[in-house]
Symmetry: C2
Subunit: 214 residues, 2 copies
């Protein structure tokens, strides 16, 4: 498999975690999101990914886009260990957390959104940083409550083994730490993050561990 | 089943389409996103949905959040007709489109994001409308190319029967029409939209057909 990735991309980070949890080797193809005006915008890359985002996974001639679609594909083609275990309602709980992170927090803080906010809306750095922190905080407030109320979380979002929910959560906590979000109100989320750091699948997927890290 | 919904919510609209395609009856419980400062913020609703968004589906005591997690659940518990047909790579293609719409377009144009843009960032109506149209256009530009290049689309995004990709696409086209986005550059998307209108599953799920329509 080949993974087009950028070390700091949360979406690529999710897929790296999933590939590592399943012990699937892959070639790392860096796409620098800032250099040369953004290498993801180059025509050759856009033929693989019309939306000009990372990651893209190539497997057996199939060109796959969108991190959660890629992880579902990996789970269908390499079922063990399952990243979506349990009953249909357990799986809906797990997917619900993954999607809350992927739909309610991450899209607002994407590089292209922050660029538009700055250059087109005219937001200054303070407004941009407040925006960034706001969406993480509002999302984490909801998620912390949800994890506690669900009574399904353990060392990870669902019990004691990692799922696709954790593959989405850990990159988002990494971003929160990077942008100095106060994490003191999120003991459950912090506990899961700390637990994940103990596993090489997560540690090896971290931005600083990538070949294109700066 | 019980569906907490708002007639204009794109995410609820997706689930209504899926329920109708599978011919599953449900009780419609309206949550008015504007009245009383937003009924989704009421404590009783937030116990069901900590993120304070619609939809929420209640099935057999299970409380399910996030439209795509709900649709996956419906597809697992009521497999026919399948909304995720085909091989793992076909399913990744279908999920990829659904997620592109759900992650790259819709979150930017959510009510709470538009509110924050207006009240906190201080964007005027022109800036807000340009923002709204920008994310639809950039998403549809990519999707139109992708649908053509994939050679997998027919009357719908994947062949000639509706999938979860169409359940996401049709509500987004509804929004584009409502906000006067020029659709002339998207013949494939428009063709799929027109085809969907011929099916009662889509027509009956439309905002204007809901009990809380205004």
């Amino acid at each position: 498999m080949k993974l087009y990735s950028y070390f700091r991309s949360s979406a690529a980070y999710r897929v790296r975690i999933a590939l590592n949890l399943k012990k699937l080797p892959y070639d790392y193809l860096p796409v620098h999101l800032l250099r040369n005006g953004g290498e993801q915008l180059a025509a050759a890359y856009r033929e693989l990914n019309h939306d000009a985002v990372v990651p893209t996974l190539i497997d057996d001639g199939h060109v796959l886009q969108q991190s959660l679609a890629i992880i579902e594909y990996l789970d269908e083609t390499h079922p063990q260990p399952s990243l979506l275990p349990g009953s249909p309602s357990d799986r809906a709980y797990i997917r619900g957390i993954a999607l809350q992170l992927a739909c309610e927090i991450h899209p607002l803080n994407n590089l292209r959104v922050l660029k538009y906010l700055k250059h087109t809306v005219g937001a200054n750095d303070d407004v941009k940083n407040a925006w960034y922190q706001h969406w993480i905080r509002s999302g984490f407030n909801a998620l912390e409550e949800h994890l506690v109320a669900s009574r399904r979380s353990g060392a990870f979002c669902f019990g004691d083994t990692p799922t696709v929910a954790d593959a989405c959560l850990i990159p988002q906590v990494f971003n929160a730490n990077r942008f100095n979000v106060d994490m003191s109100g999120y003991p459950t989320i912090r506990g899961i993050y700390d637990e994940a750091q103990k596993l090489s699948a997560f540690a090896d997927a971290a931005p600083d561990a990538q070949p294109d890290a700066e």
